[in-house]
């Protein structure tokens, strides 16, 4: 009996050895919120919740593996992973599955898979690898190379079309550049150039994208058309009030007024049913997770791990912020899911892989010292 307990204890030790408790606890709390909300958003459809839970199990296994590999393995994986991701994106462009007018998925036989999700990890990994390699001799040309490495997947994803994800991937690349020390002058210059280019880009945007931006500027423009989703989401949040309407009691949710309510707009469901208090608690959980990730980043031992962990952390924040800002009407509608909460297996897996990388970085912070 003692032996059995000792065995269990030993197994637990191995399992938990490289798992960061703080990160793990906050992530699972957010996932828990997600599952509870998903149950309500899918009109108490347990099948959807179990499917998400199954993805979670898979994501946790992958996270554990990533957390436990030798740090050198991550470095070595960077180039092949990036190359594979780009190839998969090309494959999507050539023969992907159409859903709702976008070609974003690859059918793998066992299920659909979104290569752009893989790129979320692959691009920061690739850039971190590149900057680590060039660490001693970093020159302006390296940033040009980096820009090309970023632009390629962004362009491929943008033409799926999936503007939201393309922007997010672009942001993840930009974060690496920023953390690698890109001059403020250049960043400001780029921002100015982007502003100046906007009128040139405008005619190239799809009608629905133009519509979304116009609607964002003036929501009353077309309340039953493009502004409908945004308006209904605001109504859901606002009518939730301070304490919310209670779990399973959101009228906006259950009477079909909310679009995409178990994916991109799941936060509106949460905010309607749990109110301002619920929203604040959820923000706090994100803040804990991101805060811990920032600490891990600050303590990372190599340039590679610093850049990688930093980019993953900032991406986490960006996803959460953009989604909640979009649902609450602060930003135009872009297709960005709420991390760890929105329904979707691929996103959940890539997020947990990101957490696994952070845990790996944390576990190896003293082992490799430059």
């Amino acid at each position: 009996m003692r032996n059995f307990l000792a065995l269990v204890g030993r197994i637990w030790e191995i399992l938990a050895r490289r798992v960061d408790n703080f990160l793990m606890a906050s992530a699972l709390a957010i996932v828990g919120v997600g599952l509870v909300t998903l149950f309500s958003a899918s009109d108490q459809n347990m099948a959807r919740v179990s499917s998400q839970a199954l993805s979670l199990g898979f994501a946790l296994v992958l996270m554990w593996i990533v957390a436990n590999v030798a740090p050198q393995q991550l470095v070595r994986a960077a180039v092949p992973l990036y190359a594979a991701s780009v190839l998969l994106l090309v494959a999507v462009a050539l023969g992907g599955t159409m859903v709702n007018g976008s070609r974003r998925w690859l059918n793998l036989g066992i299920g659909r898979f979104q290569p752009s999700e893989l790129m979320k990890i692959a691009l920061p990994l690739m850039l971190a690898w590149y900057f680590q390699k060039r660490e001693a001799r970093l020159a302006f040309g390296d940033f040009i190379v980096a820009a090309v490495l970023i632009a390629l997947p962004v362009w491929l994803i943008k033409r799926e079309p999936d503007l939201g994800t393309a922007l997010m991937i672009g942001a993840s690349g930009f974060y690496v550049l920023y953390l690698a020390g890109l001059s403020w002058k250049i960043m400001l210059g780029l921002a100015a150039a982007a502003g100046a280019a906007a009128p040139l880009v405008w005619p190239h945007l799809h009608d629905y994208q133009q519509e979304r931006i116009l609607t964002f500027i003036d929501p009353a423009r077309d309340p039953l058309g493009a502004g409908y989703h945004s308006a209904q989401a605001s109504i859901a949040l606002g009518s939730g009030g301070v304490i919310g309407k209670g779990w399973l009691n959101g009228t906006q949710t259950h009477l079909d007024f909310l679009p995409e309510r178990h994916t991109d707009f799941i936060f509106a469901v949460f905010g309607e049913e749990f109110g301002l208090i619920g929203n604040t608690v959820l923000l706090l959980l994100y803040l804990l997770l991101i805060g811990r990730a920032l600490m891990i980043t600050a303590n990372a031992s190599t340039l590679f791990t610093r850049l990688l962990a930093g980019a993953i952390t900032l991406m986490f924040f960006t996803y959460a912020f953009v989604n909640m800002a979009m649902v609450s009407g602060l930003l135009p509608i872009v297709g960005v899911p709420l991390p760890l909460v929105s329904y979707g297996g691929t996103a959940l897996v890539s997020l947990f892989v990101g957490l696994g990388i952070l845990m790996n970085v944390q576990a190896n912070r003293k082992l490799v010292k430059t």
């Binding site: 660490e135 001693a136 001799r137 970093l138 020159a139 302006f140 940033f143 974060y175 920023y178 953390l179 690698a180 020390g181 890109l182 001059s183 403020w184 002058k185 250049i186 209904q232 605001s234 109504i235 859901a236 949040l237 606002g238 009518s239 939730g240 009030g241 301070v242 009228t251 906006q252 009477l255 079909d256 007024f257 905010g271 109110g275 301002l276 929203n279 604040t280 923000l283 994100y286 803040l287 991101i290 920032l294 980043t297 600050a298 340039l303 610093r306 930093g310 900032l314 924040f317 912020f321 909640m324 800002a325 609450s328 009407g329 602060l330 430059t370």
Partner: protein, 653 residues
């Protein structure tokens, strides 16, 4: 170039060797960047908190209201329209519930495609499509419009299974109006139809707009129109929770509708049927009244129409057939047909003369077969060649002597005559409870002045001439009365000068409480006439039916009836001898018969008009006989005398 990548501090020289790289400096530089990022994160989350506080705390009320109005819809529940029955409770108009396939055009992307798809599940005919198109043009887009009515159970089931494919298409239970007797009494009952802009104005005037929410139909003609507010009922309200697609999810509260009141008519549908059968293919009108209280026992306008055609909107072919027919089946003849009374006016003129003192009962004239105004060569001919000889008042009515009344007309003041006759209901509305009654024409000097007041007329047109009085003496000239007025007038004689307002509705039943409100007889007028004068005329009327112009139709009757024949000329004879056989059927004279029975204690008084029937005695009187036989003896009339009568020249009117 290195300078480009550092944030602050002394810029590195481009020439500085890379191996002098400082890890400590690198790390602190990285950390500063991380701190800047952290600040951004905190700022971003603070912004979100601010937005949430704004939405969920400060704007909560506003959004709460929006969410409520999003989810709650007020749905009117249309009440059951009242049932119309005859005096014995036989149903003449009723509502029944049936399923309809309805389309809300604003929620359907491609109407034609949708209808084509629906046609695969449900039988949709070309005329359904046409009617739908017409409704589409008439109404607003967000209303739900019926595409197919009266679906079978199988069709309902087939659509229900496929409903998800058709957003904006629904099955609804609707109330339909049905008139089981079709053409019989169609002009009395009328019909309902879809509410149009004019009806909306009417509803607005009644201040009933809220009560008609959800109602699609309203009375258009007949009793359905005049008793609309009794029949309609009170609309109920259901508060339902709806989803984003507008479909009701559950009921929150419900106020039941109150059914409209039931109407029980004084009409006897069997009598009505018997009369319509007696008319056969002939055109005309008959109004029968209970003289003691004004109850209308029969109200016939031939030809009729099938009111069921109108309920769902009549198809153009049927409409054209009805509207363009020379028989004018849509004309409510008893109410709106004004015909010269012909000789039927004579008993009233006789009574007028007795009352004014122009004649006594026994005073006689000599009838040479014509009348001439002093100093004029024009002869007003009598119907009988050679004349009736010596004629007193009683004989003048029994044989319908024209010369007697030419003379009386010439001796009378038209205004005095007008005022006396007006007491019987002529020249004004009788007040019968169907809308649209016409007043007809009862001429007087003032009337003629008014009638020819227009600029196209000169003074000589407006003046009253002696010749006018002579023509008026035999009910020709300007006189034009409706069958309702004629029936009311003869009923007034039958009831010894006491006139009740004629009415079709006998009682009104409140379905909810079961309370029955009887329509009390309404005294319209009491004619100022002496009983002995009345007795003279009434006796003469009995004589008409016994030995006079109406006698042939009443041979062998088991009751004593009283009546007066009449023929109203359509065709100016210009002194020539009228020979009905030689002129166009539609230019023949109209035949009248006014009658009541039993003569001593009248239970029924009626006016019959047969258009282009020729002599009243021949065409109209037999119908009166059939009505009396049925009503007084309970005897079904012998096979309808449907064949057109053969006018005989020797018979006088």
């Amino acid at each position: 170039m290195r300078r480009l990548f550092v944030k602050r501090g002394r810029p590195f020289s481009a020439l500085e060797p890379p191996e002098l790289k400082n890890p400590e400096r690198e790390l602190s530089h990285f950390r500063r960047r991380l701190i800047a990022a952290t600040a951004l994160i905190v700022l971003g989350f603070a912004g979100l908190v601010g937005r949430f506080v704004y939405l969920q705390l400060f704007q909560h009320q506003h959004y709460q209201t929006l969410a409520e109005s999003n989810r709650i819809a007020i749905v009117p529940i249309v009440p059951n329209r009242g049932v119309i029955t005859d005096r014995n409770g036989v149903v003449l108009a009723q509502s029944y519930s049936a399923y309809t396939l309805e389309v809300t055009p604003s929620r359907v992307k491609n109407l034609d495609e949708t209808i084509d798809e629906l046609a695969k599940l449900v039988d949709i005919q070309l005329r359904d499509r046409k009617r739908f198109r017409r409704l589409l043009e008439e109404t607003k887009n967000f209303e739900s419009l019926p595409l197919r009515t009266r679906l079978s159970d199988e069709e309902v089931a087939r659509f229900a299974v496929n409903r998800y494919r058709f957003p904006g298409v629904e099955i609804k239970a609707r109330l339909f109006r049905q008139y089981p007797f079709g053409e019989i009494a169609s002009h009395v009952i009328g019909y309902i139809g879809r509410i149009n802009d004019r009806d909306v104005e009417r509803i607005d005037e009644w201040d009933e707009t809220a009560n008609y929410k959800g109602s699609d139909y309203i009375g258009k003609v007949g009793l359905e129109l005049s008793y609309e507010r009794e029949l309609h009922g009170t609309t109920g309200v259901e508060e339902v929770e709806v989803d984003a697609g507008g479909r009701a999810v559950r009921t929150l509260s419900r106020t039941a509708p109150t059914s409209g009141n039931n109407l029980r008519l004084s009409l006897d549908i069997k009598l009505q049927q018997a009369i319509e059968a007696a008319f056969g293919d002939r055109r005309g009108a008959l109004v029968a009244i209970d003289p003691a209280n004004g109850e209308v026992l029969a109200f016939v306008s031939k030809p009729g129409f099938d009111p069921n055609l109108f309920v769902e909107g009549i198809d153009p072919a049927s409409w054209d057939a009805l509207n363009d027919s020379p028989d004018k089946p849509l004309l409510n003849r008893p109410l709106r047909g004004a015909y010269p009374p012909g000789s039927t006016i004579k008993p009233f003129l006789a009574l007028s003369a007795l009352t004014s003192g122009k004649r006594t009962a026994t005073q006689t004239i000599f009838d040479p077969g014509f009348f001439q105004i002093a100093g004029s060569a024009h002869r007003f001919n009598d119907d009988k060649k050679g004349g009736h000889g010596t004629v007193d008042m009683t004989k003048s009515i029994i044989v319908s002597c024209d010369t007697y009344y030419y003379m009386l007309g010439a001796d009378s003041d038209i205004d005095v005559t007008h005022d006396f006759l007006a007491q019987f209901g002529y020249g004004g509305k009788t007040g019968i409870d169907i809308e649209g009654e016409l007043p007809g024409v009862l001429p007087s000097r003032a009337w003629k002045r008014e009638r020819f007041a227009g600029k196209n007329y000169r003074e000589e047109h407006r003046k009253w001439y002696l010749g006018d009085s002579v023509s008026a003496g035999i009910g020709q000239g300007y006189n034009a009365f409706t069958p309702v007025q004629q029936a009311e007038a003869i009923a007034t004689i039958a009831n010894d000068g006491v006139a009740f307002r004629p009415h079709l509705v006998r009682s009104i039943e409140n379905v909810k409480t079961g309370a029955v409100r009887d329509i009390a007889p309404e005294l319209r007028h009491t004619v100022a006439v002496k009983p002995e004068h009345l007795a003279v005329v009434k006796n003469a009327l009995i004589g008409v039916a016994r030995e006079g112009t109406g006698a042939r139709a009443f041979v062998g009757a088991q009751y004593v009836s009283a009546g007066k024949t009449g023929t109203s000329q359509l065709f100016s004879l210009k002194g020539e001898k009228y020979s009905a056989g030689h002129i166009d059927e539609r230019l023949r004279d109209h035949a009248w018969y006014l009658a009541y029975a039993p003569a001593a204690h009248p239970r029924i008084a009626l006016a019959v008009l047969v258009e282009n029937g020729g002599f009243g005695a021949q065409a109209a009187a037999p119908i009166a006989r059939a009505v009396f036989d049925y009503y007084l003896l309970g005897r079904a009339p012998a096979a309808a005398s449907g064949e057109a009568p053969h006018p005989a020249d020797d018979e006088s009117d």
